[in-house]
Symmetry: C2
Subunit: 404 residues, 2 copies
């Protein structure tokens, strides 16, 4: 019998994480004793609130399975949290997941079959493409552009990519990798488009709190049509517990949540201790979020001010999350990132950022763009960005010399 060997097609086509794939280069550089400023990955340096560890220390007995939907106390905390944001989720409409990652995967699986399409707005959180590929689902991009501040593309662009297999639109707000916070009008236009074309909206709202300049991050739950909205959420960034892998999927659509519950039952449960610890985090005062957001806003300013005067750069002031995307005067940003790691140091230090090509589906898009995660303190950030600027100057000079 003829049978193909090797990998499944889906596995062979899985994209490598554009955020993590250059890690071997930085490992190499660090082994040489060079200090690398890591602005490539969204792992903040902020402290995990003490109450989380304190609660976990009081855990006793057996580290056993929780309910597949999560600890009831944690789901109740989520429900109360959403209501503070005027998002009317009852406890039974919330299932605790293994991070936002699992929430997005469950949402895609609930609405899309193999070979169905999900629309994303590129550049987009790159792992969406891997979750979709894992499930045999196509991600279909609509392009937002650096020159236009990565704003929501015109709805005509979405209409163009519709097919009979389009099932949903998936996007983060506030945005990763570009820090865009969509306006009420932009989101309303997306909801209208979804309603007109009978699509689900999978809304990744993990950066809800981190919004600057007095703006507000609207939830897709603010636009009615609740039966077609699925919220993917995570405590990772909000409480600096990225390692806990605790998130949530929430929807008023009972059919969707019943199906998600079956998915949750199959993988049994999310981590017990982290759920137990996370219950305490919801009691932090509002000032916790205010302090966190003020800190990120300060860092945003440092990065933006340091980069904006680089000749020929295209850079927009982010409005939320903790990422900045920029277009550099280079041909190939991935080559530049590698070059920084391998060839450039200033006072025995260098800076690592993420090339943005992997955050696009359209071939060659974003080849000259990068993402900076401002996850270090302001002083380190200022130095890291200034090293990046120096390196960029040296890199572009080198190219000019090489051409002579």
């Amino acid at each position: 019998m003829e049978r193909y060997s090797g990998l499944s097609r889906r596995a062979s086509e899985l994209p490598a994480s554009p955020i993590r794939k250059l890690v071997p280069y930085s490992d190499e550089t660090e082994k040489k004793g060079v200090k690398v400023y890591h602005l490539n990955i969204g792992q903040p340096d902020l402290r995990t609130p003490k109450i989380y560890f304190d609660r976990i220390k009081t855990f006793s007995g057996v580290d056993d399975y929780t309910n597949s939907a999560g600890l009831i106390e944690l789901r109740e905390k989520f429900s109360r949290y959403y209501k503070k944001w005027s998002i009317p989720f009852e406890t039974k409409e919330i299932i605790v997941t293994e991070g936002g990652s699992e929430a997005v995967s469950f949402a895609i699986a609930a609405v899309a079959d193999p070979n169905d399409d999900i629309i994303v707005i590129e550049p987009f959180y790159a792992n969406y493409a891997a979750f979709a590929k894992f499930l045999g689902v196509n991600v279909v991009p609509v392009t937002s552009r650096a020159e236009n501040g990565y704003r929501m593309p015109a709805i005509e662009e979405f209409e163009k990519v519709l097919t009979p297999k389009t099932r949903a639109i998936l996007f983060p707000n506030p945005g990763n990798p570009n820090g865009v916070v969509y306006t009420k009008d932009e989101l309303q236009s997306i909801m209208d488009f979804a309603v007109r074309n009978d699509l689900y909206v999978i809304s990744d709202e993990v950066y809800r709190e981190i919004v600057f300049d007095g703006l507000k991050a609207y939830s897709m739950m603010d636009f009615g049509n609740h039966e077609r909205v699925i919220i993917a959420d995570s405590l990772s960034k909000r409480f600096n517990i990225c390692g806990a892998r605790i998130g949530a999927i929430a929807s008023k659509n009972k059919q969707i949540m019943d199906a998600v519950m079956k998915m949750a039952m199959a993988r049994l449960a999310a981590n017990h201790l982290s759920q137990y610890g996370a219950i305490g985090l919801f009691d932090l005062p509002d000032s916790y979020f205010e302090d966190m957001t003020r800190e990120y806003e300060k860092r945003r300013d440092v990065v933006y001010e340091t980069l904006k005067d680089i000749p020929k750069i295209v850079v927009n002031k982010p409005q939320g999350a903790f990422y900045l995307a920029a277009k550099l005067p280079v041909e190939d940003a991935e080559e530049f990132v590698k070059w920084m790691l391998q060839n450039f140091t200033y006072q025995n230090k260098t800076t690592m950022v993420a090339p943005l090509g992997g955050f696009y589906i359209t071939p060659n898009m974003g080849k000259d763009e990068i993402r900076i995660a401002y996850v270090l303190n302001s002083e380190d950030l200022r130095e890291a960005c200034s090293i990046l600027a120096k390196g960029l100057e040296s890199y572009t000079q080198r190219k000019i010399f090489a051409k002579r």
Copy 2:
């Protein structure tokens, strides 16, 4: 544009967990003040080793992402552990997963595309069907029978279900739900079949230590042909940390492991604190496993001795894990399980087991079978099984009266 609403087909076809779906009935019964002995779920009552919690208490700093492949110290512990079992996995051939569940899902995704086939031996660990359905993959059953001690079916039965889309065989050993430990000859015949037909073998070896009567659980790594073997593993049962969701996927096939690493990167990491705590568990002395296995063997004896004399029961003495499957003199075991919860108490106590129908794919197979997880101490187990026997007698009598 015509587009179907509602769920994806895969979501609407997801099986509900046969282990968890009757939980609402037992909740109801417990609310009435009745004590329910839970033999339906594989959540042991044994203590989680103290060293696990002690290590976690010493964790300080940020609960941040680990490497997507897991903490290097934990992977090294896994590698040393495997070598003690003469399974030659190097650290780089092991990726830490969110429980055995994620390990099996990653393995299926790595080798099978939507509409491909994976062979399972029914009755089988029911969640395999959900993982496969989630990925759009078909599980194709070969049936083992209670009357034959649930031994490995003849290889001709496997040959019969082969199609050009068959990609792998997936099974647990020691077995869940039947406690079967396959012989060297049985496993060799499976490997020969896999080699002849160019299939992968996904071997779920999470109960490796729990084997009775001086038998040994062979690993599929004991039969050469390493390029086609993928091991799914878990610390849940071995160390009584079901809630930690820490497992591993391991293979000598570099192509497979490179693809699995991309899947692991997409979901970022497994839980940090539980990984950190689990490192300490590998230092437990061999006597830890000996004590655990002796305890389960004692329980196995209690359950088997209490059930074997029930008239018309078909029951086999389990050789490993902590499950016993039995054929009862009832038409519909699910109905019987519900009846026990709703109508039968002895001294205000009743017993809950799992109906086995959901552990089969073939329609109506296993309808009169149940699974018992012997996860309580011997005294409780003896009472629970004796209540089950009394309930069964009453149930069958009731049926006779009803027919008059």
